[in-house]
Symmetry: C2
Subunit: 121 residues, 2 copies
């Protein structure tokens, strides 16, 4: 039985790639993923999945078509399914994502940034 604890900062030390979510836990069909992000991501939405963003380190701006929400360390936001959004980080930001296991990080959009094979770390 896997009862291993997960230290978030230790996990972040294991990879450097940006915009490449790494899976660290799974429960009830949902996954916890960690990602390092910097710069502008693509506009996208997830048709059937709500997506939670939690900021572990740094700052992230979540752009929506009609507003922008700036998130700092220790803050989270749920992007409801179907809502177009674009994450933007001026400097590297470390984020935790919580979403269904089948969620693609670029949603319905295929882009050069799309990673179809998300790895566990």
């Amino acid at each position: 039985m896997n009862l291993s604890k997960i230290n978030l900062l230790h996990k972040f030390d294991l990879f450097q790639e940006q915009w490449t979510p790494k899976i660290v836990a799974e429960l009830n069909g949902q996954q916890v993923k960690l990602a390092k992000v910097e710069g502008d991501f693509v506009w996208h939405s997830h048709e059937n999945e709500d997506e939670l963003f939690y900021i572990v380190k740094g700052e992230l701006s979540l752009e929506f078509r009609d507003r922008e929400v700036r998130l700092q360390e220790g803050e989270m936001l749920v992007v409801p399914r179907g809502v177009e959004h674009r994450p933007v980080a001026e400097k590297e930001c470390w984020i935790l994502l919580f979403e269904p296991g089948e969620t693609k990080h670029t949603g319905e959009v295929e882009s050069a940034l799309t990673k179809n094979d998300q790895d566990w770390i």
Copy 2:
């Protein structure tokens, strides 16, 4: 449309009760809950729900029938469904729980600690 950000420490400032999870977000049928805990909780399990514990502040010991896992700030652990566990905190500890919306915090056990009406904050 609710696109409000959730600042965890600000939310923890809104309540003092221990062992009384407060709901702060909902997505994909799952809820994010915050709780302040201190002392020994009851042994219990959740028949159909995996439960994620994340430590926001302090230290928590998760006791299982065959082992104990000590979690510190920034660490998380998933307790699989059906596994008996008991959270114990020597000093007040602030935790984040992620679990299905219908999860009772004392699982199948009815105890003096059971709260059937979990509130949003």
